[in-house]
Amino acid sequence: MISLVIIAVIAALAFAAINFSMVKKKSPGNELMQEIAGYIKDGADSFLIHEYKIIARIVVLIVVLLAVVVSWQSAAAFVMGTVMSATAGWVGMRMATLANVRVSNEAHVTRSLGSTLKVAFQGGSVMGLSVGGFALFGLLFIYVIFGKLMGQVNPDQLVIHTNWLGINDIPFTMTVSGYALGCSIIAMFNRVGGGIYTKAADMGADLVGKTEAGIPEDDPRNPATIADNVGDNVGDVAGLGSDLLESYVGSLIASIILSAYMAYTAIKSGNPINPELISAMIQFPLFFAAVGLLSSIVGIFILIVKKVSDKPHRELNITTWVSAGLTLASGAVVTWLLFKDLDVSEVGFTIGTFSPWLAAVLGIVSGIVIGQLAEYYTSYHFKPTLKISESSREGTALTITQGLSVGMNSVFLPVLVLAVATIGANALAGLYGVAMAAIGMLSFVAATVSVDTYGPIADNAGGISEMAKLDGEVRDITDELDSVGNTTAAIGKGFAIGSAAFAALSLFASYLYAQGGVEIGKDFKLVLNMIDTMTLAGALVGGALPWLFSGILIEAVAKAARAMVQEVRRQFKEIPGILTGKTKPDYRQCISISSAGALKEMKFPALISVLMPIVSGFLFGPRFVGGLLIGTTLSAIMLALFTANSGGAWDNAKKYVETGHHGGKGSNAHKAAVVGDTVGDPLKDTVGPSLDILIKIMATVSLIAVSIFSKFNLMVLFGG
């Protein structure tokens, strides 16, 4: 059945290449449009190249550490992870920077919402298919080379080995963890760097251009407007792609690692699990992901070839529902084929063969419910956001207060859904079921990322239409596509956060297994003792960590935005012809400022996520880190939901006012709503998305390092 995975990978990457080429062949419009698109493309390329150069140094350091301390296989898998994630981000962003101008031209030439949607979606699908294709390709490569050919998944190898440093681990778990860590490192830098870049440029462009100079959004006279458009690509395209790729890989490897530790624990308990069943459990995530990828290809294909209506939301939903439906159906077949002849009760599958499939279904359903809840709290068709826009009549303070209230309220129900789904998935198939819930949620990631990526492409297309002075009808088309993109992005964030919670729980369970080490035996219980002082202390610190992380990120955005504001003011003052349109602004200077700010500021928060579990592990030992992980996970999930939903609600409350309510554009209500949106911007686009990576990166690093700091830490040294 491994051929199924190979077919899925080849099909996804080939389809991505075809879509890339089809979009590229479309006309990029007139000279001015091409010139503007050229600035955006050059700015985005240059940022990503600089960012990758910085990451490369850190990657080399981690590779050496992994190779020396863990294993060369883990180091190689880590490199594979970075390459896959970076490639997906690069390809997707390259497509987006080529597609934006073509989308704009399509709207200009055809005046058709449907055919413009098609080009934008086809462009977005390159990122979606690259995320699914490259993630699975890397995992397949590791499974075949290290797992099969080098025998790491052979039953005799799925036991704890002791390396030259005396460190204990199950080799294949370390290899796949290395792969996940590679993906996570790129995701963290792309999300943090891209998030700082995009918000610094956006805020700089708005605060001076719109507020002080009174020029509209995306006006070519605004020096920061190109940087703002570059930011959409590096943050919302490359950042989102590598984020979802990391989530996808994280959920897949969580189930593989869990299976390996379950097998080992069972052997040590004197009650070994059927090796065929363990092999099936390790392969199942790969196969499920493969059918999810193939289903997504069908869903994407349908939208590209069908006659598209003028209702973009409906068309995008068709892709998502077709992909999800086919994934469920084909996933059931795969489950049956893989587990039908096995006694699954010995691993806690309570309702037979289909237990893990049902857990995945539960994951999909809970993802959809969380997405719908996100829409409820952030769309102006519902009360919470309407209340914020109403409050904006009473001024800025109440806009902020009401938004905080909506954001805080919005945390409870999604968390309740996660809690119920966790209990349900666990009841169906134990912790493996919880891991499967995460996989289910992300199994059709290629389709959801395609839908998510189309939004920033449409947004950029709108910017280009504006700057190239295409008429209002064109801008109406791109605006409508963009507004649908905002809703789909909010739903996508729900999936990312939900899957992070499930994956973190599975990784955490694996951490506890790994902490048990070779001593795992009959009496081993998968328990975290919360009244243990070290664990509790770790949980307290862990709970505070996402707040520190978020604070640093927001400060980084503010710092970079301040530099941008000063530069835009300087250009308006020193180059008087800008506003009369006689002189072009110095776009490149703004791009450089955003780029330099993001590259400088991204390092510290990104490194915190890697170093925190390691440093605290060596200082206080594994029990502290166990607490740290649980504290971080709980706190970060809440904070991620709060930031994503409050930011989204503020944004849409402003949009509601702009559609002619409470005085509309230019009213005091609008001014207050704009402030709310500005406050929410770094929350929803920088902090929120980075938090779910923080959770997984810390869990993965801890999992890799636990056997090391279990042996070597200050507590051991002092006999603690």
Binding site: A213, G214, I215, R393, G472, L579, G664, K665, G666, S667
Partner: protein
């Protein structure tokens, strides 16, 4: 080099000579050269041959010359007081609406007709020489006549005003994009309309003595009017939203109409 004459009506009344063409003059006045200003401006192009005797055109020709470095002369003020009343309607050309960010929309004169259907009252923003916001039971033609004729105590020799799109007074939520204009006066406006409807013999009622700080082009209804001393009414109709979207999208975007 040609000299252009501009009658600025908002935010200040003046007659200005300039070597700049109308759009460039508007951008200069709105943005300044280096002072970094951002303010709306409304002016009328005035035809030199019909301008009459009220302004010192010799002084204008003498002063309105290029700078030594070849730059055009931006502005020579000929009058900063009672300029509107001194310009004959025959001399009035295009009316220019300049946005805060220096974008220009030129309005041509159109044929006046009474508003149909007539709601019984209308909202007028007087822009020059006085600046009150008035709710009136008179249509624009009669309102203009009422102001410029000296049959009442409240009179002016000429008036420049805009009729405004009446907001939806019954629904605080769905107001349309009217900007900050009605933010603080909505309740008082309702009361004034009720007063007029009560029919106590009043033709007009002042809603606000000076709303010009928050006046914006979003709220203009049918158009703008110059009521001259001779009783003539010059009407500058606003283009429809469709025309604005098709032909003047940049300007309309800057005014936040879109």
């Amino acid at each position: 080099m040609s000299i252009y004459y501009y009658l600025t009506l908002y935010p200040m009344e003046a007659m200005i000579a300039s070597q700049l063409e109308p759009a460039a003059f508007g951008a200069y006045m709105a943005l300044g050269n280096r002072k970094g200003s951002a303010e709306k401006l409304i002016f009328i192009e005035v035809k030199e041959e019909k301008i009459g005797e009220a302004f010192d055109l010799d002084y204008a020709r003498q002063r309105c010359v290029e700078h030594s470095d070849g730059r055009r002369k931006n502005s020579v003020y000929l009058s900063v007081y009672r300029a509107l009343e001194a310009v004959p309607t025959e001399a009035m050309g295009l009316l220019w609406l300049i946005t805060r960010d220096g974008r220009a929309l030129a309005l041509e004169q159109g044929d006046y007709s009474d508003p149909e259907p007539w709601a019984g009252n209308a909202l007028y923003q007087e822009l020059c020489p006085a600046h009150p916001l008035v709710v009136s039971a008179l249509n624009p033609k009669h309102f203009s006549k009422y102001i410029v004729e000296d049959s009442t105590k409240v009179t002016m020799p000429a008036i420049f005003f805009a009729d405004l799109a009446m907001p939806n007074l019954e629904d605080d939520d769905f107001t349309g994009n009217v900007g900050g204009y009605f933010d603080k006066i909505l309740e008082h406006l309702k009361a004034c309309i009720m007063d007029l409807k009560a029919g106590k013999g009043k033709m007009s009622k002042i809603v606000d003595r000076s709303s010009t700080a928050t006046f914006n082009y979003q709220v203009i209804g049918r158009g703008l009017y110059v009521g001259a001393a001779d009783g003539k009414l010059v009407f500058y109709p606003m283009p429809s939203r469709e025309i604005l979207k098709k032909k003047h999208y940049d300007w309309a975007k800057s005014t936040q109409i879109f």
